[in-house]
Assembly symmetry: D3
Homo-oligomer: 262 residues x 6
Amino acid sequence: MKSLYEKFTWPEIKAADKDRVVILPVGAMEDHGPHLPLDTDNLIVSRLAEAVVASIPAESLLLPTIPFGFNEHHKDFPGVIFIQPETLMNFVVDVARSLAHHGFRRILILNGHGSNHPVLDLAARKTVIATGCLCVSASYWNLMSETLQAERHSRTGGMAHAGELETSMYLYLDPRHVQLDKAREAIVHDENNRYLCLDLAGGAKAMAMQWWSAQTDDGTMGDPTVADADRGKIFFDAAVRETVGLVKEIRQIQLKRRKDHH
Amino acid sequence: MKSLYEKFTWPEIKAADKDRVVILPVGAMEDHGPHLPLDTDNLIVSRLAEAVVASIPAESLLLPTIPFGFNEHHKDFPGVIFIQPETLMNFVVDVARSLAHHGFRRILILNGHGSNHPVLDLAARKTVIATGCLCVSASYWNLMSETLQAERHSRTGGMAHAGELETSMYLYLDPRHVQLDKAREAIVHDENNRYLCLDLAGGAKAMAMQWWSAQTDDGTMGDPTVADADRGKIFFDAAVRETVGLVKEIRQIQLKRRKDHH
Amino acid sequence: MKSLYEKFTWPEIKAADKDRVVILPVGAMEDHGPHLPLDTDNLIVSRLAEAVVASIPAESLLLPTIPFGFNEHHKDFPGVIFIQPETLMNFVVDVARSLAHHGFRRILILNGHGSNHPVLDLAARKTVIATGCLCVSASYWNLMSETLQAERHSRTGGMAHAGELETSMYLYLDPRHVQLDKAREAIVHDENNRYLCLDLAGGAKAMAMQWWSAQTDDGTMGDPTVADADRGKIFFDAAVRETVGLVKEIRQIQLKRRKDHH
Amino acid sequence: MKSLYEKFTWPEIKAADKDRVVILPVGAMEDHGPHLPLDTDNLIVSRLAEAVVASIPAESLLLPTIPFGFNEHHKDFPGVIFIQPETLMNFVVDVARSLAHHGFRRILILNGHGSNHPVLDLAARKTVIATGCLCVSASYWNLMSETLQAERHSRTGGMAHAGELETSMYLYLDPRHVQLDKAREAIVHDENNRYLCLDLAGGAKAMAMQWWSAQTDDGTMGDPTVADADRGKIFFDAAVRETVGLVKEIRQIQLKRRKDHH
Amino acid sequence: MKSLYEKFTWPEIKAADKDRVVILPVGAMEDHGPHLPLDTDNLIVSRLAEAVVASIPAESLLLPTIPFGFNEHHKDFPGVIFIQPETLMNFVVDVARSLAHHGFRRILILNGHGSNHPVLDLAARKTVIATGCLCVSASYWNLMSETLQAERHSRTGGMAHAGELETSMYLYLDPRHVQLDKAREAIVHDENNRYLCLDLAGGAKAMAMQWWSAQTDDGTMGDPTVADADRGKIFFDAAVRETVGLVKEIRQIQLKRRKDHH
Amino acid sequence: MKSLYEKFTWPEIKAADKDRVVILPVGAMEDHGPHLPLDTDNLIVSRLAEAVVASIPAESLLLPTIPFGFNEHHKDFPGVIFIQPETLMNFVVDVARSLAHHGFRRILILNGHGSNHPVLDLAARKTVIATGCLCVSASYWNLMSETLQAERHSRTGGMAHAGELETSMYLYLDPRHVQLDKAREAIVHDENNRYLCLDLAGGAKAMAMQWWSAQTDDGTMGDPTVADADRGKIFFDAAVRETVGLVKEIRQIQLKRRKDHH
């Protein structure tokens, strides 16, 4: 069963089940330390989304990944492609509104890059307001926090950016492009912090994002030295499993009509 | 010691300690069931912020509350004043950039209304990028999740909107304006959900916000019937305590310079 | 009778008389010389609006004041919070459009700060075009020009900014926060001018607004040294009386339908 | 001496005296009753500006007229070309900023159409903030209010739109295009009004602009039946005289530098 | 028969044939070497459009020229008035949408300045999407490429800007303002180029526009020294003839309805 | 030698030759008749760009394709993802400005979809103005017009959209996804037209783009029935050859500095 949206003809889209959940992955192009390529977020979120639709093709449909994200605070590092947040938001909303225009009712914006999170949250809300469809946004690491805590080898702060999580998954997905010999530990988390935290496994109660180059010397935030491909597989499989779970939950929601109380 | 920003003259602002954390509360004007007034979010976040600066005046400064928020999905209920998210974001960024222009280095955007959360998160990030100052955003309920879980009487879903939490605090802060006889239980949380949840005590792994009138009959989402003023005081005091903690944490962060790696 | 909009529940707004004039005050946070606090415009316009609805509660409804305005040309003075004019305009239009969405037909945007004037004029026009309701904008000093001319002690240029008018009213409304010992005369009006004038009592035939710090040394433009609380009461009472008159005039206007001539 | 900006070559602009006041006329294309063409505002403001620079060529420079304005509230009448206010404002600011970029220090935005007034006021303020040059905005009728009151034959409300003033001037400037036989009196001013008034000779203390087609049957607001070419000449000559006066006043203003008080 | 739109009254526009092609000329104000005035593009496109409607008045209608264009890359030369491209696009779309609002079905945006081309192309497309009318954009030199190649005396690159074509036409239309003694040859075209070319007679396969002052010393790109008034007449007459041809082709197109395939 | 930008680490980008031409392909997701998938433009432009950098890796660098374009006029056909033109333009400019920020001096925006053309033309111009780098835009079919004319089997109008050209190339690149049995001839070109034409091989002298569903019944415009894979290879190879030629021409251009003539 075809699940890549782009390979449909228009009469095939017309005939498609409009309750399939359409997944739009959004990544980024940015520094990931000296050991990972610029496409780390794109690679992970794209492979994840492909695995999800491969496992439940009848329930989902996959769009191409938007390969650039919101990360101007990284621009002191060469290579970063930084999209203004309003532009990224409008771009995503245009995609989602197009889907609703064609009758799709359930959309998942799947995020692979930290700072995209509020942009995509807003994009989902704006889509709902504009179209009435169900539009959900999710960052994959939030879906799998139990696995992250259960399987991690690094302490808090070890999987913030280019650290244990991303390096392990890249080693599993495309080891040829990882230069592990250049990786070094760079945990900057202050253990006395009660509210602020950038670890992907959770723990932040408030949001503080400073300029990246003021926080890290080589673009790494976390501990890539403990990464390995086996743990990468464990993490990746959990991401797939939880995203499949979310897609199924989205499918189950009963869509109700608005009621005007005026 | 003066801690209300608006009561300073300009020479007094010039002389002020620029490491005081300037707090900008942001609320909303919207339906809160038949039992609470439209200003519920404004009342709570304003009183909270006032209590915070009253307890640590030398370390903080308070701006007036922005009394309208992002909530177009509520507009089927009479009375809602809905600001477009870009407009609210720009407004908040203008305030924060003004503060940075005058040399303030530490800003806290304190949120009192759910859907403002991603708007203010983005506003904080944009301020950092534009000015280099430290700009933090926080929703007060996230700061106090342990207390919410420890003290609540309602089950999950009982404190989403106009429910146990907000009704209790309003009863504590301004009981004259609560019409508790009109309150009714309206928990719409699906206990089978693993990813989606609107309870303010946490639990959501993904974000799905539908039109409000499609989810609730009278604007309530939660259980106001278990609310009381004593628990309102417990909640409110915890909010003050945790926000004070966050302000102190913001004061402690060492501010470092950007480094250009080109 | 309740006249504070924010204290209504949504069913109460639903039941409210939609011909009550909803008043939205807009102020500013900016330098007012060394003798007045940053909130001068907010204090005056808020107290004025409260007095208006207190005197004709059945005919009006009051929204909270928007406490920041358009005043980037003041930003050389510490403390100024400057909102971009498009952002302020959009913010105000969103508020007014929300009111029209709920069926209110008569809106008064009440201005307390000079440079907001064209922003709010445009916001009112845009609201009319978007909704068809009657949306009026007014700067309070224009409503009371006869009283200003009759009661003033200073010559032309004496009541432009932080001068006789504002200082007198602040002395009447909140004398504890006035540092009159620091006030000094600063009339910069050129008596040879036939077209350009910044005095609030009128006289300008064209609009020229330069950078504030190029025109005044300490943020004052006018003569605060002649101010006193008694005259402040006279001015304030006139402002209330004339604004009540305007509200009543707005109530009387017969609303007619558009006719398409195509 | 050349005073049409457009006929200069770039080396001639480079050599020009940068204290000459550059005049940018802004008009509109809209219904002016059944008796006047759509270009009424353009014709008057263009001829006026040409006469001004002809009389003081060494002190001024003239740009081409922007022939479309802000008047969406007129669009129920065929022929109206309506520009969104933000677009018109940005357009005018771009022109004025270009002038400042080339070193011109004194700019007059000369308005020929009522609803453009707040747009051009804001455009002038934004230009000052962006460039530091002196940018003035003026609506020609405000400059000549004494003459309007002294010479008018109609009562208040008689010269609001396509009435005594505009019809008289069109009769003087281009009688061939006036169909005076189709003109009829259409004074809609309520004499009981104390605050609201649309007469061009002044009197308004607050701004209320409803949809045009809700206020007038044929697009006229005022009394064109009393118009004649002789009075048109009187009015036009006064407009020229007063605009020349304003240009000279603009030339006299001493330009001072900003001072940063931080 | 009247063909100047601006001289119609609104009832006359109401009665007009809505299949007349409404022409909106768009020019620019910019450096054209030391020999031509800043208004070169405006003069040519305005006279061209006037000649077109004079020859087929019953089939066309003419709006006033928009006298400023998109040319920020020229701003190193004194005198250039540069409009931001989004602002120009929105301005033109507002004009075209107004026409469609009044029932006109066929619009021609006629361009007289190179860099306006993509702006007006987009404006035409946006107008079609917004209104469903037929909106065409054209740059006059593209319509007459055969004549340009047949009649030119200069080699490729000789008629890019202020060169043979524009100088000849200005000599024909308004010789008094041409300072031919200051003109000099300035062909910068690289004959080895296969893809990039700025000659107005065509030949470019890709678009590369650098900063103007990096490409030419005096603002000229082309060869004005071979220009003469007779060839100007030949060029101008061809432009009129071809534009008339285009207007007639636009008149002939059968307008069909959209069909929704969902 | 690595030529995929995304596989560089940030230190590798830092070390890269900044005169390599960075290629940004832009496609679209839209109806291409009943015989081709929605990704036709993306497939062709992506494969083309990959082949270009594979043949001259040391002279170029490839970014990921932006897979959605400007095509709202297609939205009557299911499946179309339509991005607003301003959003697409801003997105592309952000990418290009990022490259310039990192020191890249030569950028090629390579277009695979018709209506993107003016958007990308403008994006390239805006990038030049903002950064001073050389930014070129090109639609691949314009680069290869001689081959198109030499090799085509269909008459004019036969290769406008989903016609001979695109179908042939898709048959060559990915025959499995072509449903050639569903293709039918749909040439809508009017042979009497002198100015208007949508054939990709050229011929248009003016731009007219109506709603797609008003012009074609099944989304095809052209003749796919004459397509075959061998001609697809001829076309594709020509596209690669000409794009390589353009990249080399871009490399040869001598970059000069701006000069301020004020």
